[in-house]
């Protein structure tokens, strides 16, 4: 018991701030991500703390390790620019206004809208029916997705949605980044996320941030609430989206 307490005492607390609705799927997903990050953290003496916040001035004052947010680009702009060393992980929906907010420390968990459109259009060409491209679905089973769905349902009494997957992924990919990069590394977390991320999102591939800092990932194609296909990746080149690179 003494050894256990001693190990706990030497764990490093790592605050992550969350801005957004606490009743949202994104929040519940992030909590699931926190539980899983702290299983890894237990063995590496890292203790992640997810703290719900409303005042963006707290970022500059407290300097959390990362900010997870579903706020609009207008709300985020000032805090983003004032804290270039802190990664902001956007788990909210992607509006066109984000393209004017191409900050190097802003990372989007959801794909660029043009990637979703392209995935749906490509499938419609083959199939002709109504198809929706999504990040996640409760019936996804491959790559141990079934186990993630089961863990999430057990803990939250909800199905994992694209929104909850985004919240889960934001905490998991950041915690894995900190674990791999180390707390004293000369490489910043922003640099690591942009250039070295190889995240297992339980989608069967290394996930990474593309030129525009959108998480490149396989998408699921849904028709009639059933998975009918998967895309290889949602990666787009900056030229294809009509935007300039954030690099």
């Amino acid at each position: 018991m003494l050894c256990f307490l001693s190990a706990l005492a030497s764990s490093k607390d790592l605050p992550l701030y969350f801005y957004g609705d606490m009743s949202s799927n994104e929040w519940h997903g992030a909590i699931q991500g926190l539980l899983e990050a702290n299983v890894q953290g237990k063995f590496l003496r890292l203790n992640y703390k997810l703290m719900h916040k409303t005042d963006l001035d707290d970022v500059k004052a407290d300097k959390p390790y990362a900010v997870i947010s579903s706020l609009s680009p207008v709300e985020l702009r000032q805090a983003l620019l004032a804290n270039p060393q802190i990664p902001f992980l956007n788990v909210g929906s992607i509006s066109e206004h984000f393209s004017s907010l191409c900050a190097p420390n802003l990372f989007h968990i959801r794909p660029h809208p043009s990637a979703l459109d392209a995935a749906e259009a490509a499938w419609k060409t083959k199939d002709g029916s109504g198809i929706k491209a999504v990040l996640w679905h409760r019936s996804f089973k491959k790559y141990a997705a079934a186990q993630l769905n089961k863990r999430y349902e057990k803990n939250t009494d909800r199905y994992m949605t694209s929104e909850s997957w985004a919240g889960w992924a934001s905490v998991k990919l950041f915690s894995d980044t900190l674990a791999r990069n180390g707390l004293e590394s000369e490489i910043s977390a922003v640099h690591f996320l942009k250039n070295r991320l190889a995240f297992d999102g339980q989608k069967g591939k290394d996930l990474f941030f593309d030129d525009l800092n959108y998480l490149a990932q396989p998408l699921l194609l849904i028709s009639g609430d059933k998975i009918v296909g998967e895309t290889n990746t949602s990666q787009i080149l900056s030229a294809e989206s009509g935007s300039s690179s954030c690099k």
């Binding site: 299983v39 063995f43 186990q147 089961k150 674990a179 190889a198 339980q202 290394d206």
Partner: protein
């Protein structure tokens, strides 16, 4: 001392049965084990074992075959001669893979419990539990019996556990989704496969320090099982959706050869003399038999649906 060893050897010889020369293949979606006569490469019996059979292994004395029946939360015990289930015992939630210590105990990864458990298969008694990461899978016992390694797929760690105290000595961060692990013949090194990045790492077992790493030369490679040749010079790696076995130099991790096999190859077993490698090719519902000297396929055997693990009594 010599007399004691001689008596022990006689007792062991008396208790151990002659090898049946059979392979036991768990078919994940048929709920069966296919028994193959490895002298003829024919399936001689299919045994109903329970729901979702995955890990499979033969006891050190060759008297029993163990099968993890994941959806039944149990281990089925087969008689390798009669080829029938003789008993089952509860093994904690969702046993996936296991390794067998030379003392006969099973080290089991319990996928849904983030736990490794130790069972005496003769009595079904739970001897110890060890907290590990999420979705533990690969388990290996060091040949000298002093350590066990367990991979946790969703936590990206390999846990090195001391035996008999069953405490974790090192937690080593490895590539995404580590699925299998094997010790070197001298117990000093572990080799770990990581599925997502197609990565293999060579790690010092005592310190947990990385010695070397490599990425398999195929973008479709999602490595699962890893085995060492009997002489310790080659690593055999099941390449998953690359549909190949990769052969690496165990010292340098340089790629030496690739052998095409069936689709989504996961399971591996090596004959006692090292001359024959067996693979389970899940999506083709088959076992491929490879001659390790020529590195050529010499037989393909159809088994049940989605074969997962394979163990030899030879």
């Amino acid at each position: 001392m010599k007399l004691i060893l001689a008596i022990t050897a006689v007792i062991f010889a008396t208790n151990a049965m002659a090898a049946t020369n059979r392979a036991f293949v768990s078919n994940e979606r048929s709920d069966t084990v296919s028994v193959i006569d490895i002298l003829t490469n024919k399936v001689i019996k299919t045994v109903q074992v329970g729901k979702r059979p995955r890990g499979v292994g033969v006891s050190p004395d060759g008297n029993e075959v163990y099968v993890a029946i994941s959806a039944d939360n149990a281990i089925a015990v087969l008689d390798p001669v009669k080829m029938e289930v003789i008993r089952t015992f509860a093994s904690g939630d969702d046993p996936e893979a296991f390794a067998i210590h030379s003392n006969g105990n099973l080290y089991i990864s319990n996928e849904e419990d983030a736990m490794a458990s130790v069972y005496d298969p003769k009595t079904g008694a739970l001897l110890a539990t060890i907290d590990v990461g999420i979705e533990p899978e690969g388990v290996a016992v060091a040949p000298d019996g002093t350590r066990v390694a367990v991979t946790s797929e969703s936590t990206n760690l390999v846990h090195i556990i001391g035996v008999p105290e069953h405490t974790i000595q090192n937690n080593v961060l490895v590539g995404a989704r580590p699925r299998s692990v094997v010790f070197s013949n001298d117990s000093q090194i572990i080799y770990v496969t990581a599925e997502i990045g197609g990565e293999v790492k060579k790690i010092a077992a005592d310190t947990g320090n990385l010695i070397k790493k490599t990425t398999l030369p195929d973008e479709n490679a999602k490595p699962k099982d890893v085995l060492l040749s009997r002489d310790g010079k080659n690593l055999y790696i099941a390449g998953g959706r690359a549909n190949k076995i990769f052969i690496l130099d165990a010292e340098s991790l340089d790629h030496k050869n690739s052998i095409p096999v069936g689709k989504r190859v996961w399971g591996l077993a090596l004959s006692r003399d090292g001359s024959t490698l067996y693979t389970t090719d899940g999506l083709d519902h088959q076992v491929t038999v490879i001659d390790t000297k020529s590195e050529k396929v010499k037989a393909v055997i159809k088994v049940g649906k989605f074969p997962w693990g394979i163990a030899l009594d030879d």
